[in-house]
């Protein structure tokens, strides 16, 4: 069989169809429009059944912990009457150390049920370890493909740590150099092995996260007597935020605001061989966060089940230096040594708490395990070796992704950069116009966009008109 890039990509639809266990054509409406809720509901599992499947492999039911010392500190740095209480969902207590076990558990369960011999996932992060761990528990083979090295053969420490973890669970780990051809190579392997595509973006993956939102709502109510006012969620590909928000709604927490947070890496090119090792975060950053918010169907399945514009109420950016600082605070004040992913949203929560009332509740929806390669010491040592300056100073004003990481000198410097939702919504429509060459939209497509970006149909029509004129 022809293994050239072109030939493999031409077989893409056929390969995906065989490997995802879902017929996506059933949900298509017309043009860009498809029935998202029908796709999510056709899984055939209630959230109770998902909880049961997760329990079989020890996933979920993680503790919700109030950060009492950090909350005291926030009050010290807030105006009178301000300083909301922060709780974190300690997802590192899942089997492989992150919320990604929730995501992997349903995919691997489906793979087994549908009779696949193994599973494949393309991921450099915790999802690989989660798929490998769940596959081990269910007796399936697993292949994890990770973008790992630049052309010098130098690997990001966090990704090298993940390779160790995946190999530890018995996976075959394939490490590739920088570039979007990771997707091509994944297709090639799916075709060769006939394994299940445990995509991050299938409905199975997202449904698995809904239990996280449900638990957050119920546990917060149990501990404080009410649902959280705000849930902050680290946003990369969109799955965590989408799944959490859906779960909150299933628990009845309709008024809880969902705020996405990403590390600001704007200006670094994600497919650049040189930029690859000039970033200290491998996920939860704007390199995924913005593109996946505004064009979710860039994923490895025909229709991405993670669609954050349907759920995110606000989107904020924080800096690398702030996350390292917060990682230290969490360890030194709360006795929780945790990885960078959840600490991204913890930074945002810290800054938001100072603006919110003291009787309000913020939940940070995840923590992740840490260790060699993931700790601030490992990442910052690596950064210095790659020519990045590490200094103390103002973490927002002095920050320069790819050149300088600035560690705050004082908690009062913890802040965020707000990306207006209107900007993301415009960008969503722009992607449709530019990428798909759309100039006219049918009524059904307008209705679909209206659901996607949560604006009424007239606003959608006006936005399209405005952006079309601008693009001429």
């Amino acid at each position: 069989m022809d293994k050239s890039y072109k030939a493999v990509m031409e077989r893409q639809i056929e390969i995906i169809k065989k490997s995802v266990g879902l017929d996506y054509t059933k949900y298509e409406i017309e043009g860009i429009a498809f029935d998202y809720e029908k796709m999510m509901n056709e899984l055939g599992f209630s959230i109770e059944e998902i909880k049961r499947i997760q329990k079989e492999t020890g996933v979920g039911d993680t503790p919700l912990v109030e950060l009492k010392n950090i909350n005291k500190l926030i009050k010290k740095f807030s105006d009178k009457g301000k300083g909301a209480r922060i709780f974190v969902k300690d997802e590192q207590t899942n089997p492989s150390g992150s919320f990604k076990d929730r995501r992997a558990s349903i995919s691997v369960y489906m793979a087994k049920k549908l009779g696949y011999e193994g599973v494949i996932a393309a991921t450099s992060g915790n999802y690989g370890a989660a798929v490998a761990s769940q596959a081990a528990k269910r007796g399936l083979k697993s292949i994890i493909i990770q973008e790992c090295f630049d052309s010098r053969g130098v690997g990001q420490p966090e990704i090298l740590e993940k390779e160790r973890a995946c190999a530890g669970y018995g996976s075959e780990v394939i490490q590739v150099s920088v570039g979007p051809e990771l997707f091509y190579y994944t297709l090639l392997l799916l075709e060769e092995t006939g394994f299940f595509n445990a995509s991050l973006y299938s409905p199975f993956g997202i449904a698995g996260i809904e239990t996280l939102g449900l638990e957050i709502a119920n546990q917060t109510k149990e501990l404080t007597g009410k649902f959280p006012n705000v849930v902050v969620s680290t946003h990369a590909g969109g799955g965590l935020t989408t799944g959490t928000a859906r779960g909150l709604k299933k628990a009845g927490a309709y008024s809880t605001k969902v705020i996405g947070a990403s590390v600001d890496l704007r200006g670094l090119h994600m497919a650049s061989d040189k930029d690859f090792n000039r970033k200290s975060f491998t996920t939860g950053h704007t390199g995924f966060g913005i593109p996946f918010a505004v064009f979710p169907d860039r994923s490895d399945v025909p229709r991405n089940a993670a669609r954050v514009l349907r759920y995110m109420d606000r989107y904020v950016l924080v800096t690398q230096g702030e996350v390292f600082y917060m990682t230290e605070l969490l360890a030194k004040l709360e006795g929780l040594q945790r990885g960078p992913a959840g600490n991204t949203s913890l930074v945002a929560a810290f800054a938001l708490a100072r603006e919110m009332k003291e009787d309000e509740i913020i939940v940070v929806n995840e923590t992740e395990y840490t260790g060699a390669g993931k700790l601030p010491s490992a990442q910052l040592t690596f950064a210095k070796e790659n020519g990045i300056q590490v200094i103390s100073g103002d973490p927002i004003k002095d920050d320069k992704p790819g050149e300088r990481i600035v560690i705050p000198e004082d908690p009062s410097q913890i802040g965020y950069i707000e990306i207006p939702m209107s900007q993301l919504k415009e960008s969503y429509i722009n992607q449709l116009i530019k990428r798909l060459g759309k100039s006219d939209f049918t009524q059904k497509e307008i209705e679909f966009i209206s659901e996607e970006i949560r604006e009424d149909e007239d606003s959608v029509k006006n936005l399209i008109k405005k952006l079309r004129e601008e693009s001429l």
Binding site: Y5, N69, L73, K75, K76, F77, S78, D79, K80, G118, K141, S142, I143, S151, G155, P157, L160, A167, G170, S171, E172, V173, I174, Q175, V176, S177, V178, G179, P180, E181, Y184, Y185, T193, H269, A271, S272, D273, K274, D275, F324, Y325, E328, K332, L333, A372, G373, L375, P376, S377, A378, Q379, L380, T381, F382, V390, S392, I407, D410, P411, S412
Partner: protein
């Protein structure tokens, strides 16, 4: 050092030469090939670094490539202590100011 059948090794190969890569790449990535590294057990009776060999991966897949390393070491570590983080101190954080006051620089 003799490398023999059953040894845990790492192979390397080029999956796409630079001219076979996708067109929409940044200039620096365009110039380099798309490379692959995999670890597994050596299938050949014996080999030397640089030989084209076959390995059996932990899930039993047979893959061919250039022998790069034997018993490849985990190279990531905890790094060095970072002075900018070491100075974060619990007592100092709480010593400072009362509610509402601006922190000193």
């Amino acid at each position: 050092m003799e490398i023999k059948k059953g040894d845990w090794v790492q192979i390397h190969y080029i999956a796409l030469n630079h001219e076979e890569r996708v067109s929409h790449l940044p200039e620096d990535t365009k110039k380099v090939p798309f490379e692959v590294r995999i670890k597994g057990f050596l299938e050949d009776e014996k080999a030397e670094i640089g030989d084209i060999v076959t390995i059996k991966t932990p899930i039993g897949r047979l893959v061919k490539g250039k022998l790069e390393k034997v018993n490849p070491k985990y190279e990531h570590n905890f790094g060095e202590p970072i002075p900018e983080l070491l100075k974060i101190n619990k007592d100092k954080l709480f010593l400072s100011r009362d509610r509402g006051e601006k922190p000193q620089s």
